[in-house]
């Protein structure tokens, strides 16, 4: 049942994680975050995939047995919307940081500590 | 209901003890003198001194506590005496045991100090300090010696100890108690305030220490107290270690023997300073005391 898509999804997640852990620039970290979210969404969709079946749009030719499992796709829709909202929120906060700190380097954004 | 026989005995013993106490002080002075090859005053000299002091026209007082001190000291000595079995007269000794008598013998110290402190004289304050320190120093070995004794005989009551010693032989015959006797003897030296430990009233340094302010009848009171104390302590020593006595004469001989040991030691040794005394007491006598105690447990 482990199909190729899982490896794709997991590698995307790891790339995203790598970006967050290594890149010093906040924007790059946010990009990493959204890559990870896409990876998760891919995983979510591939969970519902049944090979050899078509998209779950019921029309005359395609019944419940010919279509793939529709629920994960519904979930992914919500997840994508949430991803977008989070990224938009993050970018607006990043703008405030740049305005106030004058830098986006993660090392320097450390006023709140200890 | 007062049994008159006991009252008579008490009065008789008190007079006898005071008289013998003065004689002991006389002997002490006389023996010291003879050792230093001088003639020394007659044995009854202390009695004359006390009577002279009592005869003085007026004496100085510094307030109520100053007077209360010597009175309390003498009273305590008398009380202590009443609880020691003097030869065949039991007096009150059946009502108290070793620990009570040991504490009663220490109350006069408090009386003298009360008087000395209230006199406000710095020398007397120094005397009080030294008296307290000596007492603190000697208390541990003193306690250990008493504990060894009690553990061996298994009882606290003086009368029973005397009875046991009559039957089973004096305590000094028992090896462990002999060690205890040595410890007790060193402590005894300090209790009497004789030479190596007479730091309390070191004549040269702080001129008679606590007694410096005393004169007239206060001094007389203190002299009589010292006499009774001397008699009581020697009797205590005799009762504990030398098997008490069936009659007064035998007790007297033992008391004088004990006194002479103390005098001989006193006339040889120079005076300790107070912290040397403390260190000394907590070294040798305490070790000996612990040995005696462990042997008898």
């Amino acid at each position: 049942m482990i199909s190729a898509y899982y490896f794709g999804a997991i590698s995307l997640i790891l790339i995203g994680l790598y970006a967050i852990l290594v890149k010093k620039n906040v924007l790059k970290m946010l990009i990493g975050l959204s890559i990870m979210e896409t990876g998760v969404n891919l995983l979510l969709v591939s969970v519902g995939y049944i090979s050899g079946r078509s998209a779950p749009i019921l029309s005359e030719g395609i019944g419940p047995n010919q279509a793939v499992d529709p629920i994960p796709q519904a979930l992914v829709l919500t997840a994508i919307v949430i991803g977008v909202a989070t990224t938009a929120m993050a970018l607006s906060v990043a703008m405030i940081i740049y305005e106030k700190y004058g830098t986006l380097n993660v090392e320097e954004i450390r006023r709140l500590r200890g | 209901m007062i049994d008159w026989k006991l009252v008579l005995e008490v009065i008789g013993i008190l007079i006898y003890a005071t008289f013998m106490g003065f004689i002991f002080m006389g002997i002490e002075r006389k023996a010291m003198a003879r050792i230093q090859r001088r003639v020394g005053p007659p044995i009854y000299q202390p009695i004359i001194d006390t009577l002279k002091l009592l005869g003085k026209k007026e004496s100085v007082s510094h307030g109520f506590i100053y007077d209360f001190g010597p009175v309390f000291a003498m009273g305590a000595s008398i009380a202590a005496l009443l609880f020691i079995p003097i030869a065949n007269f039991q007096l009150f000794s059946s009502n108290a045991d070793l620990i009570v008598v040991a504490y009663l013998l220490e109350i006069p110290m408090l009386g003298i100090m009360l008087g000395a402190m209230s006199s406000g004289n710095p020398y007397s304050a120094l005397g009080v300090q030294r008296g307290l320190l000596t007492m603190v120093a000697m208390q541990l070995p003193y306690g250990l010696a008493l504990i060894a004794l009690i553990q061996h005989w298994g009882t606290f009551k003086l009368s029973e100890i005397v009875a046991l010693q009559q039957t089973q032989g004096w305590s000094i015959l028992v090896p462990a108690l002999f060690v205890a006797m040595i410890v007790f003897d060193i402590v005894f030296q300090a209790m009497l305030g004789l030479e190596p430990f007479d730091i309390v009233s070191a004549p040269a340094e702080i001129s008679m220490g606590p007694m410096v302010e005393y004169g007239g009848k206060h001094a007389a009171l203190l002299f009589t107290q010292h006499a009774i104390q001397l008699f009581a302590e020697t009797a205590f020593f005799a009762v504990l270690f030398l098997g008490g006595a069936s009659n007064l004469l035998e007790l007297l001989i033992k008391q004088i023997a004990v006194l002479f040991i103390a005098i001989f030691v006193a006339s040889i040794y120079p005076r300790f300073t107070i912290d040397q005394a403390a260190k000394f007491f907590w070294k040798w006598p305490t070790i000996l005391g612990i040995i005696a105690v462990l042997l008898t447990v």
């Binding site: 994680l17 994960p72 909202a85 906060v93 006023r111 | -």
Partner: protein, 495 residues
């Protein structure tokens, strides 16, 4: 008024959130009072639901769109949910009243909307019976929390918010992966059905799925290595929001963690997950308490103390015994009250004296005696002194921990609470016995609220029976999964 009106709990904040821009036209003051009105309404409904559930004893099941589970999403308002929805509503109401005075930064309508969304999210997380729905509500809460943290538009607020976003983002992504795995193997999203089928999953997928879900929720529930964002978020957020954070936002995450944990009891590696959680919870208590020891900023200090107490609740839940869960719920209730009281009071001081540094608190007893008294009651209660409410729940938790055999965990928690006593009493000493100052006027509304909360603390402390019985029913609701499954009318269809 049958059970269906309970869905208003979710609907009301949502609808009123979208009406806010209209109210904005009437002026800034109107928005604030509107907020107070809505939260008051929400409290009314929540109180009615609480009374309904606790008298009838049966949970209220609300089915979205009348679809019966597992096809439709259902709200399961059992004893715990009823209790905690009421707490969410009450604390939101109090903070709404406090916001009137505390919030001066201009886009007040945005604040009102986000405030309602946070309340909605928390209520949703507690009430939902479907794990994806749980994820959605968690994201709603999270995003509005990110926005509210950055609301003050200062450098620190933005920094705190970015930290919260990145860590929260990672956490929720892994949570979603966990859901994907569980959906993949069980084919259902409804919690009751998952509980039924959990035994059948194959071991590795179950273990990885459970671990990832627990990891995702642990980030939200501030367990040890994952709670680095929490102190900054608490410190930088506006004062009413910090109180809401500690009173219920984090607790909703903790509840979700506990709910899923106990649902997946049948999973083979359940006990090793519990052991891991116990270690993390104990470390949370230990690190947070020691971190609070030499704090200069009182708000950050109380944030650490709140994290530690939440770690303690996490420990109670992770014990896996009925007494542990009951104690944990009781501590949740007490902690919500005490921390709401403390953050409200500290916020009030920060608002009136301009800042929450320790110097501002010197001689507070003379300048703001009522607030100082409130902080003292809160601090003494938080330390766990008898005749105050937290004592009973802390005692219960420790007895449960020792009962479950984790004496080392109890020892660590107790050492940590000694440290907690030290820094709280240092604060009390600075307030009452150091420093000078003449008395300044304290707002009537805030004072009333402080007195109400302080009175609540002492009343529960002196007579804890009623609170304990509620906590027991709520604890049973989480622990006893069998009757959770029985209550949910499953249609019996499924992969």
């Amino acid at each position: 008024m049958n059970g269906q009106y309970a869905s208003l709990l979710i609907a009301l904040p949502l609808i009123s959130a979208f009406f806010v821009p209209l109210i904005k036209g009437l002026g800034k003051k109107a928005v604030k009072y509107y907020l107070v009105l809505i939260t008051a309404l929400q409290t009314g409904i929540a109180a009615w639901v609480f009374q309904e559930v606790y008298t009838t004893g049966k949970p209220i099941i609300v089915m979205a769109g009348a679809w019966r589970p597992p096809v439709g999403i259902n709200l399961y308002i059992g004893h715990f949910a009823a209790l905690f929805v009421l707490i969410v509503a009450v604390v939101s109401f109090l903070m709404a009243v406090f916001s009137i005075r505390a919030i001066s930064v201009d886009p007040i309508d945005k604040y009102a909307m986000l405030f309602l969304l946070v309340m909605l999210g928390a209520t949703g997380m507690i009430a939902t019976g479907d794990i994806f729905n749980l994820f959605v509500f968690m994201e709603i809460t999270a995003i509005s929390a990110y926005a509210l943290t950055a609301y003050n538009k200062t450098g620190e607020a933005a920094e705190a918010s970015i930290k919260y976003i990145i860590l929260g983002g990672i956490g929720s992504s892994f949570f979603l992966i966990g859901i994907a795995l569980i959906y993949g193997s069980l084919g259902t999203l409804n919690m009751a059905q998952i509980a039924q089928l959990a035994g059948g999953m194959d071991a590795t997928v179950a273990q990885v799925g459970l671990a990832l879900i627990v990891f995702g929720l642990a980030v939200e529930a501030e367990l040890f290595p994952l709670n680095a964002w929490a102190p900054d978020a608490y410190q930088a957020a506006p004062h009413p929001i910090t109180a809401m954070f500690s009173a219920f936002v984090v607790k909703a995450g903790l509840y979700a963690l506990a709910r899923i944990l106990y649902l997946m009891q049948a999973v083979s590696s359940w006990h090793s997950v519990l052991k891991l959680l116990i270690i993390m919870a104990t470390l949370t208590v230990f690190v947070a308490e020691f971190a609070a020891l030499r704090q200069k900023n009182v708000k950050r200090m109380i944030a650490y103390s709140s994290i530690a107490q939440i770690g303690l609740i996490g420990l109670a839940f992770a014990l896996g015994t009925q007494s542990g869960v009951d104690a944990g719920v009781f501590h949740m209730v007490n902690h919500a009250i005490v921390k709401a009281l403390l953050f409200l009071a500290v916020g009030h001081v920060a608002v009136s004296l301009g800042g929450a540094e320790m110097e501002k608190f010197e001689g507070l007893g003379k300048r703001m005696p009522l607030t100082a008294f409130a902080i003292t009651v809160g601090a003494i209660a938080a330390v766990g002194i008898p005749l105050f409410n937290v004592f009973w729940s802390k005692l219960r938790i420790l007895l449960a921990t020792l009962g479950a055999g984790y004496s080392w965990a109890a020892a660590v928690v107790l050492i940590a609470s000694v440290v907690e006593a030290v820094y709280y009493f240092r604060l009390i000493h600075t307030m009452w016995f150091a420093g000078e100052g003449e008395r300044i006027s304290e707002g009537l509304a805030v004072s009333l609220m402080l007195l109400f909360l302080a009175a609540l603390v002492i009343v529960i402390g002196v007579y804890p029976d009623y609170a304990w019985s509620i906590a027991q029913k709520a604890g049973n609701d989480i622990f006893n999964v069998a009757d959770y499954i029985k209550n949910v009318p499953l249609m019996g269809v499924g992969a």
